[in-house]
Amino acid sequence: MPATTKTNTQLVINGLLNENPIFRLALSMCPAVGISTTVANGLLLGVAVLFVQVFSSCTISLIKDHIHPRIRIPTYTLTIATWVTVIDLVLAAFLPVAYKAMGIFVRLIVAFAIITMRLEVFACRNTVVASFWDGVGMGFGFMFGMVALGAVREVLGMGTFLGYDVLGFRPMLFFVLPAAGFFLVGFMMAVFNFVETAYNRRAKRGL
């Protein structure tokens, strides 16, 4: 895949809609299914992924000419692991309040597919600026997906939103369990596909 031709804003919107990591690229479904139980969880994990994605993309884009092609994947893994450790240590030392909230999530990010994929598909062939904005787009797309799922699951499963009682009762605890996560992700994918088809149809008609 040659270097991208999109502008920076296009890259961000791309990560949010066209190539949304959870609903279109179907990557990192583990956290999408397992951790999007509440809006707060989704938000915190989304922020953590945003930081790791942006830092890793920029780093790989900086050193892309020096990576031996046969050891790309170990290099990506090393970079991601280094950044996750650095972020974890810095949070624990200088932002204890944020660390208390996000601490457990940050360590999980090492295993996410979206970050490695984005490094392989985008960062190793593009400039630092483009990689930065692509990382931002992917991070926001992931956060958007997690918050959307989290909102549905929290309101329908526990009757709260961001911890505040909204419904006053628990509609269906089923929504908090992982099985519901699968169903909801599939449902949202269908919604995304439907919206894209409708949009394309209207665009064709507009032509």
């Binding site: 397992g34 951790i35 139980t37 509440t38 969880n41 990576i67 031996h68 046969r70 050891i71 170990p74 290099t75 090393l78 970079t79 692991a81 280094t82 450790t85 650095v86 240590l89 810095v90 624990a92 030392a93 200088f94 204890p96 660390y99 457990i104 999530f105 605890l173 908090v176 369990l177």
Partner: protein
């Protein structure tokens, strides 16, 4: 062949670079991280005793730390306790050795202050001149005794036990009759949203007020948490906050005093792990503290608690 060499060198260099970055960050952040953790533990301890920013602890409250060690000497095992003692007009530490049945063997004076005792390194250094060469010492656990004017008000036990995922670090507060005053989960790796709910008030506060007798047989019941009990647990009898009236609080307390712990929905194993962990910690502690008290009396050690 050259390719393999290049790949190996590249991989090694990358790993070394990554290690360098991580190591440098660690050096810069280690002190601050330890400081934060210490503050966290302090806050947890005071919170368990019922004090907060709005209700600061009175100056008469003293917290004494006792450290338990296991001493191995030529295949003979004994227990060692590092206890705070009165040395003339200052407070210091002594090391008492008991045999496995709890009989007092001997006591040594240690040149250690309370602040130094907080770090494992300093404790080890203070123990080194006291032991014979063949003895091997390993740290077991610590306990904190809260005293107010020469009378024990509470015991604080930090501890670690297996959870559903890996380990759960918790702190249990017991009153002098081993009734549970409170429970705080300090660190865990349970599933967020399911097992992670063990940090919520409506689970932790179920342990408060359980007597020692009930504790010994405490298990977990798989029934949904009743609404009135949940409201009580979340306000903890705080009647001003538009929750329950004083009479209702009393009724709920009496009704649920002797019930088992209601498990978290979707996290039975985590709930059972916390319950059995807390029960184990409390039982072992009650046994050990009685032995320690007997030994301290026999050995006539001037302990501060």
């Amino acid at each position: 062949m050259r390719e393999i060499l290049k790949i190996t060198i590249a991989l090694t260099v990358s790993c070394l670079l990554a290690g360098l970055v991580i190591g440098t960050t660690f050096i810069f952040t280690a002190k601050a991280k330890q400081h934060n953790e210490h503050l966290n533990v302090q806050q947890t301890m005071f919170g368990l005793l019922g004090y907060s920013k709005q209700r600061p602890a009175p100056p008469e409250l003293r917290l004494y730390s006792v450290y338990r060690y296991i001493v191995e000497e030529n295949d003979a095992m004994s227990m060692g306790y590092m206890v705070p003692v009165q040395k003339g007009s200052v407070e210091g530490y002594a090391f008492i050795v008991l045999d496995l049945k709890g009989r007092f063997l001997e006591s040594y004076d240690l040149g250690l202050t309370a602040e130094e005792a907080l770090s494992a390194e300093d404790r080890k250094k203070a123990l080194a001149p006291v032991l014979k060469d063949s003895a091997e010492i390993s740290f077991a656990d610590a306990m904190i005794i809260a005293c107010m004017e020469e009378e024990r008000t509470a015991y604080l036990l930090p501890g670690e036990f297996p959870g559903f995922k890996t380990f759960i670090k918790a702190m249990v507060a017991l009153d002098p009759h081993f009734q549970i005053l409170g429970l705080e989960v300090i660190e865990h790796e349970e599933d967020p949203g399911l097992g992670g709910e063990i940090t919520q008030d409506y689970f932790k506060n179920q342990f408060v007020g359980k007597s020692f007798e009930k504790l010994k047989k405490l298990t977990v019941i798989k029934e949904p948490l009743p609404e009135d009990y949940k409201l009580y647990l979340e306000t903890m009898g705080n009647t001003e906050e538009g929750g329950l009236s004083a009479r209702e609080v009393e009724r709920i307390q009496k009704h649920y005093q002797d019930k088992d712990i209601y498990a978290l929905t979707g996290a039975t194993i985590s709930s059972a792990a916390v319950t059995s962990g807390v029960v184990g910690m409390a039982k072992k502690f009650a046994y050990r503290v009685q032995i320690l008290d007997q030994a301290v009396e026999k050995g006539d050690v001037p302990v501060l608690f």
